[in-house]
Symmetry: C2
Subunit: 302 residues, 2 copies
């Protein structure tokens, strides 16, 4: 393809065609994509907000409400990471559809990132794409992950601010108390807060956070009803409050962690499956014991 370009002027005029092409090039690793990344003027001050939580918690409605508020005076980009299931594709497309209100809004850019075909993993791609968005003149970037896999949770964790959305109705939310994301979110949102059990869940979260030896940021537990636009202003305030207190040390740590993911992904990509398959075919592994064969032929020499 021709050289990948990105001009801020076009984006500021609400023309996202070039941006969409550039992101596709990064997603598909078209020739020249890495040079394009190297040439970016990345504004690392642009906040990247990860939004995650179990399916059905209302993440899309919440994003919709955030977009409604923020798009009035800010350029907002949303990267929606589709889950890795080849089966649930249909229902997720339905979710995406709900964000449609803003598909044509000049201040809003929405892009989804699908799992399939991303051999190196979703997490490095979302790092790269959010850096493209950070170079494109947006004021704030959201990464929404559907939370069905470890990698989606990891993506949310690599954001500057991680928002965990739960809903009081599902017993699963209490189960989620055991999972890693629950302990590291920067902001907790109980959406659909007009439902029963809201206070029970809030208390659970409060107790859990109190058990931690917190220094610095004290994660708020917010209640929202996204469909009624209730609690959205408080959530936006909490997001910017959290951004305000991110210090240089945390920024460097995040950057290092992203570097680790990108290097690991690069290693994986260099693994030559095709060559290995050919070699194995020639070696004709017998079916005596696969592990002895591997030890003799491969594992020692690696």
């Amino acid at each position: 393809m021709s050289k990948i370009k990105l001009t801020k002027e076009e984006i500021q005029s609400g023309n996202y065609r070039e941006l969409a092409r550039a992101i596709s090039a990064v997603e598909n690793e078209t020739t020249g994509y890495f040079e394009f990344l190297e040439a970016l003027q990345i504004d690392y001050k642009v906040p990247v907000i990860g939004i995650t939580g179990p399916p059905g918690a209302g993440k899309s409605s919440l994003l919709n409400a955030l977009l409604k508020e923020l798009s009035q005076n800010k350029r907002v980009a949303v990267l929606a990471v589709d889950p890795s299931s080849p089966f649930t594709h249909g229902s997720i497309l339905g979710d995406r559809f709900r964000m449609n209100d803003f598909f044509l809004h000049p201040n809003v850019f929405i892009r989804s990132l699908a799992t399939r075909g991303n051999l190196g993993g979703l997490s490095p791609k979302s790092i790269e794409i959010s850096d493209v968005l950070r170079s494109a003149g947006f004021d704030i970037i959201f990464i929404e992950t559907v939370g069905v896999g470890q990698s989606e949770v990891e993506i949310a964790m690599l954001a500057d601010t991680t928002v965990l959305v739960l809903n009081p109705g599902a017993g699963d939310d209490i189960q989620a108390l055991k999972s890693g994301i629950l302990e590291i979110a920067d902001i907790y949102v109980i959406n659909k807060a007009d439902q029963d059990n809201t206070d029970v869940l809030a208390k659970h979260l409060y107790n859990m956070l109190n058990l931690r030896n917190l220094s610095g940021w004290n994660p708020p537990i917010l209640k929202t009803i996204a469909t009624e636009h209730s609690g959205i202003a408080e959530l936006i305030k909490a997001i910017y409050d959290h951004q305000g207190q991110i210090n240089a040390e945390k920024r460097i740590n995040l950057l290092n962690e992203k570097a680790v993911r990108l290097i690991a992904a690069d290693r994986m990509k260099r693994f030559d499956y095709k060559k290995l398959r050919q070699e194995l075919q020639e070696l004709q592994a017998t079916d005596a014991n696969l592990y002895r064969f591997l030890k003799e032929q491969y594992l020692k020499s690696l």
Copy 2:
């Protein structure tokens, strides 16, 4: 830990304590686990049957029905692969619970393999554990995957026989027609076949299979009502029919593909995240452009 042992005699008497310990050692990669794998007398003729499909298709009920039938005169092992979601843990445990009828049956061994903590990936672990089961005197092995991620589908594909379970009620099943697994299953099961749309789905599958240029095995489309034990005998017959026609070439191909996964996982495990994190911390990546930094410091030398 002490040396990992596995004696067929104990297993044949229905004592699965040693087996459970051996599998845990493989799952957690306890010292000595690879030597244990190397010493196995693997019977590659023991069929490994992958069962996959979207959540709610009735895979657990189907397995229950298969176990009821097969356990009368066979030793059966089930490896249930939990999905990678940290959120849905609760509901999946519920699924597992339904298989409880057989937890104490002397001819049945049920084990679940959880995603979390398996950095090298689920697919290599399920290969290794099914080889342990193949060495332990079982007559048939089932690997059930919940089908929420690419890796779970991959696991089912690495089985000798792949059974895809769909149900006529969910529109998702039609969406699934686009996914990779749909094209490569060896046996198609429409479970809950007393529901509407059974024939519509059957026709969809039939047309899809007819479009393929099939040589050799002609994948059957079976209808079952697992909860009423309807269609189970036909499914068992289809499984053994498929097993009967697996030729040496296909066995070698499968073995090679498993070797590829195991070698790739080994490579990943050797990636030293800890050392890399230390190095990066010393290098103090500035936030000018992460990609230039990576190119200069890492990617070229890899």
